[in-house]
């Protein structure tokens, strides 16, 4: 009964990844069809080109910075929103619905939306900044690092609310008596948060952290739609895509895809390693 599922995944996911490795070892470009030979030296030519290009390292830096900043913000804001939503009695259905709106908006639409919000003439961001007496003439998507900031804001807006709902589900699983007992023992709200809430939410937080990190490392839709990778928003997926689709250099593009894949894998392995030793010692 499992075999159809496995067959589909092996054929359409496993095989292409191996084929990508194969392509990445060849000199293959759509401009010169038919010409396909091992990429010298030692078939690793594409990898040498990629690893010695400044673009690769800058895309790697951007991707890692984006992942770290947006995931931390999403966890912190998601946690804050979950704690807030837990206290709400009246209007909680409305709040839940409002919080689901960002998650349901397509990523491409999210990018279009934030592009108009930050637009110097059509958006409201500069108007609000001006009203607060701050500089109001920033061309957000035309400057570094402002474009990167817009990308982070868009991603956090889309995912933090949903994170809040997942964490809220976890919060509601913590028995009320635990808090009451702690309050009787004289624990402050702050202590209750650090000593009870966080440890009991540990597994939910870790799962959220892993899934968000893996998603953020693959980020493509936002930088493509916002800036096409200009002004410090070029990510690994976008760089590989440009080589493949726009330049038609399949060999080098595949090498970049494989490198992206390896970065994601390496970080997954690090997470698993970090989780395992203290899995049993939730204090």
């Amino acid at each position: 009964m499992v075999s159809p599922a496995i067959a589909v995944m092996v054929l359409v996911a496993g095989f292409p990844v191996l084929y990508a490795v194969w392509l990445s070892l060849h000199e293959y470009s759509l401009r010169t069809p038919g010409l396909s030979r091992w990429a010298a030296p030692f078939a690793l030519g594409n990898y040498l080109t990629a690893l010695s290009s400044q673009e690769f390292w800058s895309a790697l830096r951007t991707t890692l910075a984006f992942t770290a900043i947006s995931v931390v913000l999403e966890l912190a804001l998601g946690m804050a929103m979950a704690l807030l939503m837990q206290r709400v009695a009246r209007g909680s259905a409305f709040l839940r619905a409002a919080v689901l709106v960002p998650w349901s908006v397509l990523t491409v639409v999210t990018a279009i939306m934030w592009r108009s919000v930050f637009d110097p003439t059509l958006g409201f961001v500069n108007t609000v900044l001006g009203a607060l007496g701050l500089p109001a003439d920033t061309v957000w998507l035309g400057s570094t690092p402002q474009a990167f900031v817009v990308m982070v804001v868009a991603d956090v807006w889309k995912t933090a609310p949903f994170m809040a709902l997942l964490l809220l589900a976890g919060l509601q699983g913590i028995p009320r008596e635990t808090y009451e007992a702690a309050a009787v023992d004289g624990a402050s709200a702050w202590q209750r948060f650090w000593r009870i809430t966080l440890p009991l939410l540990r597994s939910a937080l870790l799962v959220a952290l892993i899934f968000r990190t893996l998603d953020a490392l693959r980020i493509f839709d936002l930088p493509y739609t916002l800036t096409k990778g200009a002004f410090g928003t070029d990510t690994l997926s976008l760089l590989a895509f440009r080589q493949l689709q726009e330049q038609g250099i399949v060999g080098l593009g595949s090498a970049l895809s494989v490198l992206t894949f390896l970065v994601v894998m390496a970080i997954s392995v690090i997470y698993i390693r970090l989780m395992r030793p203290n899995a049993g010692s939730a204090r």
Binding site: M1, V2, P4, A5, I6, V8, M9, V12, A13, P16, Y19, A20, L23, L84, V88, L95, R96, A97, A98, L100, V101, P102, W103, S104, V105, L106, T107, V108, V109, I112, M113, S116, V117, D119, T121, L122, G123, F124, P161, L165, L166, A169, S203, A204, F211, R218, F220, D221, Y224, T225, L236, S237, A240, F241, L244, Q245, V250, S257, T260, V264
Partner: protein, 279 residues
């Protein structure tokens, strides 16, 4: 501070926080609606309300043949992906949850590892393969990879659900002489509607949303889905002002999804929690 005034302060804080959260979640989307209702010279200034709201952008989008084709493509791709994911995923999940299988952990880990694949890693080889075998720029060429990327989540949600089905049901069925396939189809499946709905919704949303493969594996409106079509609308932004049209198209394709998600919110959240935590 007395206990009472402290409590009142906390309540005020909660109310302020709730309003802030609602505004942050909704206002940017409202801004898109605001832009979609403007036309011509009104699209050169920022104000909270359009001065002369008009539906012209919406009528022009709904008369755009490429956009309508994209809507049709998206509907076909997302629906087919969803049906196939359930058809292939449900038996697999049942076997993984209930039947004595060897290397069950390994299979589950393998399934999970597919979710870590970056779409870009399969984009190049699929582009080349699909070109060679004639699946490039076809709907089937999109459905197949979408199926792969949605199967793991569908399987995990369903495994979490099937594990909670009491074993006595199957034991009774076995006594009546039913084989696992029949037990699954006649007894377990009818009970599983809630989990199937959750898995279906999440699969549908993924397929409706997917962008990278949609622009890599298609080249014309013949197979372009909505996200790809909208992205190519934006290409001509410098020349004319299709900004109002883009905003209208964006609102049009988002609203059905928002309604769907809000209606099924509890299922979606519980499904993701089950899939993520128990799996």
């Amino acid at each position: 501070m007395t206990a009472r005034s402290r409590r009142r302060l906390a309540t005020t804080g909660t109310v302020v926080g709730v309003i802030a959260v609602a505004v942050i979640c909704l206002f940017p989307f409202y801004w898109l609606i605001n832009l979609s209702l403007r036309y011509g010279s009104e699209l050169s200034s920022a104000s909270v309300f359009p001065e002369h709201p008009t539906l012209r952008n919406y009528t022009s989008v709904l008369h755009d043949a490429d956009f309508l084709a994209a809507l049709r493509n998206s509907a076909v791709v997302a629906t087919t992906t969803t049906l196939l994911a359930l058809l292939v995923g449900a038996p697999a999940a049942y076997a993984l949850a209930k039947l004595p299988l060897r290397r069950k952990g390994l299979i589950l880990a393998g399934v999970l590892s597919v979710t870590t694949f970056p779409a870009i890693a399969v984009a190049a080889p699929l582009f080349k393969l699909w070109t060679d075998i004639g699946l490039y720029n076809t709907l089937a060429g999109l459905i197949l990879p979408y199926l792969v990327f949605t199967l793991p989540l569908a399987v995990f949600i369903l495994v979490a659900f099937f594990r909670d089905v009491p074993d006595e049901l199957e034991e009774a069925a076995a006594l009546d002489g039913l084989d696992p396939w029949r037990t699954f189809a006649r007894i377990v499946l009818p009970l599983s509607a809630p989990a199937l709905v959750t898995a279906a919704l999440l699969t549908f949303i993924f397929a409706w949303n997917e962008f990278l493969l949609a622009i890599t594996l298609t080249s014309t409106p013949h197979a372009r889905t909505v996200p790809a079509a909208i992205a190519f609308f934006t290409g001509s932004i410098q020349y004319e002002q299709p900004l109002g049209t883009i905003a209208a198209a964006s609102v049009l394709i988002s609203v059905p999804l928002i309604v769907l998600v809000v209606i099924f919110q509890r299922r979606i959240v519980s499904g993701l929690v089950a899939g993520a935590v128990k799996g």
